[in-house]
């Protein structure tokens, strides 16, 4: 018996029409970095965007001037502090649970609705970064959920899927996640020793294989020919402490100080982010 209750699709496959698009101008490629090496992109941060959450924040990192490159858009909501379920074991500290999820449309490759390993990884890094900032023993037997949706994933739509490593994008995303989570935590009124903010620095090779690598802050992977190494740092400025450091890549053995300078650049980026964060919080209090 044929299925007549549903409207079934055609049995055969059809080929989508291909239009000759004359009007689309060829975008210039490869792109080059439009900012000085030690300058971060501007960002916009706003707390209190989600009315139903205890605390929330929205972070936006602008795109570069070239069209087609998306920025980073993050939305964070903090639920809590709230009492742990009865079934949970006793905890003298606040139980931090972080949840980072890309929106299905955030990246070039469409994301699923369940978290994939890379998103879990981001969540673990974020938790490590925040744990150093929250005064956890002020809230015994309680938990806080930090949920971040990455609305736009800071990926260049012009480059192909195979080009570039996604992990560099993940680092940028993590930096934003840390900053926005700190803002949302402050909005929720959860005690922290300091405002933690994330920053990314990378060692890039822009002019061929043999060129001297340079250290840049806030790298956009599509703007660089090759990224040798990158680090994402969560930093507490008033305490001068790093709560999380994620380093990846190979450093040339010739320069021993390269690692240190990379971390320092990361800290610098993080400080920049922190200034925005502090400014945003001050604005909220006003």
């Amino acid at each position: 018996m044929a299925d007549r209750r549903r409207i079934n699709g055609p049995a055969g496959a059809t080929i989508p029409p291909v239009f000759d698009d004359v009007s689309t101008p060829k975008l210039k490629s490869p792109k080059t970095r439009s900012r000085p090496p030690n300058t971060t992109r501007k960002m916009y941060l706003k707390t209190g965007v989600t009315p139903s959450a205890s605390g929330s924040a929205y972070l936006e990192i602008e795109t570069s001037a070239t069209p087609g490159v998306s920025g980073l858009k993050l939305s964070c909501s903090v639920h809590g502090p709230r009492s742990l379920p009865r079934s949970a074991p006793f905890s003298p500290h606040i139980v931090l649970s972080t949840h980072v999820k890309y929106a299905p449309f955030a990246t070039k490759q469409r994301r699923g609705y369940l978290r994939d390993p890379s998103e879990r990884d981001l969540g673990i890094h974020l938790e490590a970064a925040l744990r150093g900032a929250i005064i956890a023993d002020r809230w015994p037997k309680s938990g806080v959920d930090i949920i971040i949706s990455i609305v736009e994933g800071d990926q260049d739509r012009e480059t192909s899927l195979l080009q570039g490593d996604e992990v560099w994008d993940m680092m940028n995303a993590l930096g934003g996640c840390i900053t926005v989570a700190a803002a949302a935590l402050a909005d929720a009124g959860i005690d922290c020793v300091d405002t933690v903010a994330g920053g990314v620095a990378a060692l890039v090779q822009d002019a061929g294989e043999d060129s001297i690598p340079t250290v840049v802050v806030d790298p956009i992977p599509s703007e660089h020919e090759k990224i040798l190494a990158a680090c994402c740092i969560a930093y507490l400025p008033t305490r001068d402490e790093v709560t999380n450091l994620w380093f990846r890549g190979d450093l040339p053995t010739s320069d021993i100080d390269l690692y240190t300078s990379l971390v320092e650049k990361g800290i610098q980026a993080s400080k920049n982010a922190n200034r925005v964060l502090v400014g945003c919080l001050a604005e909220t209090i006003e």
């Binding site: 101008p25 501007k42 916009y44 989600t50 009492s83 400025p237 320092e264 200034r275």
Partner: protein, 904 residues
């Protein structure tokens, strides 16, 4: 150890001794830590006092610090109130710890004389003390500092006894006035006026939550309370700071005016919490200090500690290698803070506070985010966006030429390619426009088509039919030979053709008689009859063998009755006849009507056996004769059958003949059109051959066939437009739509275009069969088979009328007719039979009773029509059927024929 035991074991003596011992010690006995704290505190106080340091000595500062346990805030407040900005009515500073113990800041006479030095009359001070003595509450209204002030009052009241050396006078009049001294009486100073703060606006942003604040757990509530507390504290601090600034301004205005207890909560970030040191109480007493203003420059003048502002990185870790020193906080932040994108604005719903970009291409904001709201040239918006911009991006203004005014379109700040894409009308727009255009085009021909209709050259049906006929078909049209049918007919000089219907009561022997007739005329051979008779015998119906020549359907054979019209044809010398063998049963009357409508004349078969004629006369004999007459059959041959059963009795024959002729004449048959033949259908007597039975020798008249040949068929309407009632539709090899029927009027030839009513479909004649032979043409009166083409079988049904497309049969669902009533007629539901067609309907109105002979109106609007009366009635049908004036219609109701008549 429990608390109880601790208390019990406490050595009170030791404690008291310790205390007394300390009371006797001098102020220099500070421990090193306390000394350090004191030095630090002194420096802080000096810093806090700033330029006012000249009015306070180090000793005074130290005293105050000691008194307030190194609390810099309080000390500064005290010193300011005491020495820097004393109110005119200030009293002598007399300081003692609240518990009245020996820790005292005994004030010597020089201190007591301070008011005098400051130019304040001593009775002021006295009066003031007096007031405090009376226990009046504080008159001071400097609310932020009232607590501190009260504290100082307490000190004064405690030291009152020992310190006052000035005379005390009671002046009641003045103290009443003093009581209201602070009342502004309408001239409220600015700083006391309330500032009304507008309630906070509800923020926009994401939907979610109810209007209520989100439900909070206890912990969340606690967190919120802390948040609130912190905010309040900040607000208080700010306010205090503000007040302090005001007071500073005031003090500049009237600096030496006097002393007053104006205390400030001095803001300071470096507040020392020294509660531990208080518990130890190891501080030595501060000795009495000289109160002369003494300017101290010990630690240098420090600038005011910034009271607010976030701690930004550069001050604390600016020196680190590799870190670029950021700018001043405000500027730096602005440089790295971005404007919200359209998405963010939508999310937060707050219009951007400032829009500094000037809209040039080099602006770093250009291209950031989606940039909705930017104008058409790609510039970012220069004004704050309002939400309607995002939802109504395509505000278009139509100018006079009908084109869209491009300048008004608010395109998002998208790449040029995207904007180009949306500059043209969208595919949907194109389609819609084309549809609108097509609609207006369609309206044109319609009006053109309406024109001839108005002129009356063709009816609506004709137009519809012609439009429908414009269908393009792949199959070639049948070729017409364009014959002049009438001249062909004259040339061919064919045999006369006639059809007759055989009617009669049930079991009168109609079918058997016809079978015998066919057998005798050698249309059917003997072998077939033998076979049929053998079959009939096996079924126990021996005598039905002949009838089965016509009754071919199994049901008819098993029941031994005729149910539908059976047609056979035979030819005599001069004429080609078509037999229409009608059923006799009352329930198949409609088939009989269908048959009768095709007949030129009728054979009424009457069973002559005993009682059968009488019952027949009451039954179908009567009804059939009435029906065939009302169907327009005027010639009737009465075959008195089964006379062999009554031994060919002439009396019986003449009896039946008399009765029938009398009856038939009442049914409007003319005597010359009646013929009576005694026959035996089973044996074939007097059918084709004369009876050989000697008993029947009395009959010398013509046989049945001779009577048939004598019958002149009614005049054919050859020149009228084509009308043919579809008797049957079936499939054949030649055509999927093969119709059989009798041509009632006009002629048809191969290739003719035809119109089938009521479906209104056009068809073409592919070929014609007449008498089972292909012919080129056919004329009225012939029973023909037409093979049609260019028509779908669903459009042709039994009872339809095939007509000339130029002169089609009109369709109607209401008709007026002149009806002869066989039964009582009133407005009631009826079945309308017209030939093969039968259709349910109802008599709507009976407009008039008519005279049978003349047709003139006898009575208008009768309620009912009695039997045998003629009336003009209006009948409404359920659906449209092809009807034409002059057609004969039978009305039946409840299995009875109630009326028959002619359409008007």
């Amino acid at each position: 150890m429990s608390r109880h035991q601790y208390i019990r074991n406490l050595d009170y003596g030791d404690a008291v001794d310790e205390y007394e011992g300390y009371s006797e010690e001098e102020n220099d006995e500070l421990s090193p830590e306390d000394r350090a704290l004191m030095n630090q505190g002194t420096a802080d106080v000096q810093a806090a006092l700033g330029v006012e340091i000249s009015k306070v000595t180090v000793a005074q500062i130290e005293e105050a610090l000691w008194h307030y346990y190194y609390d810099v805030d309080k000390s500064v407040a005290y010193l300011i109130s005491k020495f820097v900005n004393p109110r005119p009515k200030a009293t002598k500073p007399a300081v003692q710890p609240p518990n009245g113990k020996s820790v005292t800041c005994a004030i010597d006479t020089s201190t007591a004389g301070l008011p005098l030095e400051l130019g304040i009359p001593s009775h002021w001070a006295a009066k003031y003390l007096d007031l405090t003595d009376t226990g009046l509450p504080a008159l001071q209204t400097n609310s932020p500092n009232s607590a501190a002030w009260r504290q100082s009052i307490g000190h004064q009241s405690n030291t009152r006894a020992l310190s006052i050396s000035t005379p005390v006078s009671f002046e009641h009049g003045t103290w009443i006035s003093h009581f209201f001294q602070d009342m502004p009486w309408g001239n409220i100073p600015k700083h006391r006026e309330t500032t009304f703060i507008a309630p906070p606006k509800r923020r926009g942003g994401l939907l979610g939550g109810s209007g209520m604040p989100p439900k909070m757990s206890k912990l969340q509530a606690l967190a919120a309370a802390r948040k609130k507390k912190a905010e309040e504290k900040k607000a208080i601090d700010e306010k205090a700071e503000q007040t302090r600034m005001q007071v500073e301004d005031l003090s500049m205005e009237h600096t030496p005016a006097g002393k007053e207890n104006v205390l400030m909560a001095g803001p300071s970030n470096k507040r020392l919490k020294t509660s531990e040191s208080i518990a130890q109480s190891t501080m030595p007493l501060l000795g009495s200090q000289p109160t002369q203003p003494e300017i101290s420059h010990q630690s240098g003048v420090m600038t005011k500690v910034p009271g607010e502002g976030p701690l930004l990185g550069q001050g604390l870790f600016g020196g680190r290698p590799g870190s670029s020193t950021p700018d001043a906080p405000g500027d730096g932040r602005k440089a790295i803070m971005a404007e919200p994108s359209a998405f963010a604005q939508l999310l937060c719903w707050n219009p951007p506070t400032s829009r500094t970009s000037n809209g040039s291409e080099s602006d770093p904001l250009y291209g950031f985010g989606c940039g909705y709201g930017a104008d058409n040239k790609g510039n970012p918006p220069t004004k704050p966006l309002d939400p309607t911009d995002w939802f109504d991006v395509r505000k278009r203004k139509r100018d006079d030429s009908g084109d869209f005014d491009e300048e008004v379109i608010l395109y998002p700040n998208l790449p040029q390619s995207v904007r180009d894409t949306f500059a043209q009308p969208s595919p949907d727009d194109v389609v819609l426009a084309a549809q609108a255009k097509a609609k207006s085009m369609k309206a044109g021909p319609k009006t053109a088509a309406a024109q001839p209709k108005k002129k009356g050259t063709a009816s609506t049906d004709a137009v519809t039919a012609s439009v429908d006929g414009l269908r393009i078909s792949d199959a070639p049209l049948p070729k017409s030979r364009n014959l002049d049918v009438l001249s062909e007919l004259e040339k061919s000089k064919p045999k006369k053709s006639a059809s007759f219907v055989v009617v009669g009561h049930v079991d009168a022997g109609k079918s058997t008689m016809m079978g015998r007739l066919l057998l005798d005329l050698k249309v059917v051979d003997q072998r077939t009859i033998d076979k049929l008779q053998k079959e009939a015998k096996t079924e126990g119906k021996g005598s039905f063998g002949l009838a089965w020549v016509l009754d071919q359907r199994p049901e008819e054979r098993s029941r031994g009755i005729t149910m539908d019209i059976a047609t056979r044809r035979f030819e005599t010398e001069h004429t080609a006849f078509t037999i229409l063998d009608a059923p006799g049963h009352a329930e198949y009357i409609y088939n009989m009507i269908a048959g009768a409508s095709q007949a030129d004349f009728a054979i009424l078969v009457i069973d002559a056996s005993i009682d059968a004629f009488e019952s027949g006369l009451k039954g179908q004999t009567r009804e059939h004769s009435l029906l065939i007459r009302s169907m327009g059959v005027s010639r009737i041959i009465v075959a008195i059958n089964k006379l062999d059963t009554v031994a060919w009795s002439q009396e019986r024959f003449s009896e039946i003949k008399d009765q029938m002729s009398g009856f038939l004449s009442t049914a409007n048959f003319q005597h010359k059109n009646m013929a009576f033949v005694p026959v035996s259908g089973l044996n074939g007597d007097n059918l084709v051959h004369r009876s050989r039975d000697p008993a029947a020798s009395w009959y010398t008249g013509p046989t049945l066939v001779e009577e048939l040949e004598n019958s002149e068929p009614s005049a054919r309407a050859l020149t009228k437009p084509l009308r043919m009632t579809v008797f049957e539709v079936y499939r054949t090899m030649q055509s999927p739509v093969t119709v059989s029927g009798r041509i009632e009027a006009g002629s048809v030839q191969m290739g003719d275009a035809l119109l089938v009513q009521p479906s209104g479909q056009k068809a073409y004649v592919k070929s014609i069969l007449a008498n089972e032979a292909p012919v080129d043409w056919a004329v009225a009166g012939q029973n023909v088979v037409l093979h049609l083409s260019h028509i779908d079988p669903i459009h042709v049904r039994d009872g339809d009328i095939i007509c000339d497309p130029a002169k089609p049969v009109p369709k109607a669902d209401t008709f007026k007719m002149k009806a002869l009533a066989f039964d009582i007629l009133m407005p009631m539901p009826v079945e309308v039979h017209r030939g093969r067609l039968n259709q349910a309907g109802k008599i709507e109105t009976i407009s008039a009773l008519l005279d049978k002979a003349s047709g003139s109106v006898v009575k208008k609007n009768p309620k009912i029509v009695k039997p045998a009366m003629v009336a003009r009635i209006v009948v409404k049908l359920e659906s449209q059927v092809p009807l034409e004036p002059g057609q004969r219609v039978v009305l039946r109701s409840g299995g009875q024929t109630v009326a028959a008549g002619l359409l008007e």
